[in-house]
């Protein structure tokens, strides 16, 4: 055996012994830590309803999760939105008389989601696939995330990414050429057990959208006599198509925490800051109190949200080609939303519904008040009674409405 061959054998031998030692150490390290567990196997059946601003959206949703062994979990969701009525944007753009229902507006959106979780020790890999279909909008999203627990399972870090593709058309205009948009999201979530009664989480998320990002139905309005000054027209106004930028980047940072009170109840606080490349800055906070009583669980919630306007937003443009990008989407205007929420859960006695270990019935009601700070209610013109003084264009009352959101669902654990 040559000297070189002897050296190779010695190195190989050394490597083998060291790897054996490493395996023993890893065994010690990992056996001292509790492995993570898969989510609960459960079936959820929900009826959801949103009613506000002239629009009623409701429908069913079903979510099923099944585990295979200790490392694979599969979930599937089917979700339907049945949309009826018409929001102020649709009414203003199409001249539909919502109150009389003269031109009924109805459509459906169907969403399907598939999820796969692979768990190994303290690492979880999550794959997701989602499709959403309407008669004028198709969307597909693929997502991937990996998470790992550290420090005796006190810390969980997850990295998430998703890619989505949208295809947009118009159901009232066959000459409208189908448009596309791509959506990418990147986020990191860190959740941390801080004390035996306090858990907190931090989320940082960036989104990048490219393509056709506007709503093909929505319009801006501009002064017909090119005489707009301080967003008031001396004459009347006309609609024109919106023009949005083809890119939209945004960043959001959210922090939330839940504290277990000295008696069995919990208080939760959430805060989020948001900014985007369109000039919108937003923040919201939420407080939630959850209180169990015997087989019941009660939840009380308050949430406040505010945002500034997009740079290219105006309620009323002075003339038709006032600037490169123009939008009058009310979601781009400065606005606040305030939500009060109540929820109640009842856990059915074991055995009432056979085959299931645990079953609950849940009812949640959220009342959302939406106040637009620079989006005016143009419907006052068409709703004006004969004899009333005309309201100058640009001086209509600010738009606001209340929405009620209902979630009624049954959950079964097995």
């Amino acid at each position: 055996m040559t000297a070189a061959q002897e050296a190779v054998v010695a190195v190989t031998d050394s490597l083998r012994r060291s790897i054996a030692l490493l395996n023993i150490a890893l065994l010690f390290i990992f056996s001292s830590a509790q492995a993570d567990v898969l989510p609960d196997e459960r079936i959820d059946v929900m009826y959801h309803s949103y009613n506000g601003g002239g629009t009623q959206i409701d429908g069913p949703a079903v979510l099923v999760r099944k585990n295979f062994g200790n490392s694979i979990s599969v979930s599937g969701q089917y979700y339907v939105d049945s949309i009826s009525g018409a929001s102020i944007d649709v009414v203003a753009a199409r001249g539909v008389d919502v109150e009389s229902g003269a031109s009924p507006y109805a459509e459906k959106r169907k969403q399907k989601d598939l999820g796969l979780i692979y768990l190994r020790d303290r690492t979880t890999i999550n794959l997701g696939y989602s499709t959403s279909k309407e008669n004028d909008f198709d969307s597909t999203t693929y997502s991937f995330s990996i998470s790992q627990t550290f420090f005796g399972d006190l810390t969980t870090v997850s990295l998430n990414t998703s890619f989505g593709e949208d295809f947009i058309s118009r159901n009232d205009d066959p000459t409208f050429e189908e448009q596309e948009a791509e959506r990418r999201r990147y986020s990191i979530n860190i959740s941390q057990i801080l004390t035996k009664n306090l858990i907190a989480a931090l989320s940082v998320e960036s989104a990048v959208d490219e393509g056709y990002l506007q709503n093909p139905y929505r319009t801006i309005r501009y002064c017909v006599d090119n005489d707009g000054d301080n967003s008031i027209c001396s004459g009347s106004s006309l609609p024109a198509k919106e023009k949005y930028p083809n890119t939209h980047n945004s960043d959001a940072v959210g922090i939330r925490a839940i504290y277990y009170l000295p008696y069995r109840a919990a208080i939760r606080a959430d805060y989020r800051e948001f900014s985007d490349s369109w000039g919108i800055e937003a923040s919201n906070y939420e407080l939630r109190y959850t209180h169990p009583y015997k087989d019941w669980l009660f939840e009380f919630k308050y949430r406040a949200y505010e945002q500034t306007a997009a740079d290219f937003y105006s309620d009323l443009f002075p003339y038709v080609d006032y600037q490169n990008f123009m939008g009058r989407d009310k979601e781009l205007s400065p606005l606040t939303t305030t939500t009060f929420g109540l929820g109640v859960t009842y856990q059915l006695p074991t055995g009432v519904i056979p085959w299931f270990d645990k079953s609950t019935v849940n009812l949640y009601w959220d009342h959302i008040k939406l106040d637009y700070k620079d989006f005016r209610n143009v419907l006052v013109h068409q709703n004006r009674a004969p004899g009333d003084d005309p309201i100058p264009f640009g001086q209509e009352p600010l738009y606001q409405f209340d929405a009620n959101v209902i979630r009624f669902f049954w959950s079964f654990w097995y």
């Binding site: 959820d44 989505g164 986020s187 800051e273 945002q307 979601e331 939303t337």
Partner: protein, 78 residues
């Protein structure tokens, strides 16, 4: 150049020490002290079907998106 067996063993032992150090970080909340944390009340997402729906409602009515602890997917359907 073939590294000496000593160098290989040294490098592996160094890695081993690092891993052992990571594994020995003492959790300040012991596993037997986590009964409150394990209570379903302390879950950020107690009922995923319900919270995903409410996120969708907010996404449709507000410009802000993300940063709320979701998986970063979204159907882009608002």
């Amino acid at each position: 150049m073939i590294p000496s067996p000593k160098a290989v063993r040294g490098l592996l032992l160094l890695g081993l020490l690092c891993l052992s150090a990571c594994g020995r970080v003492e959790p300040w909340v012991k596993p037997y002290e986590r009964q409150n944390i394990a209570d379903p009340l302390m879950s950020f997402d107690r009922d995923p079907i319900s919270s995903a729906y409410l996120h969708h409602v907010y996404d449709a009515r507000e410009a802000a998106r993300g940063g709320d602890g979701g998986a970063g997917g979204g159907c882009g359907c608002n």
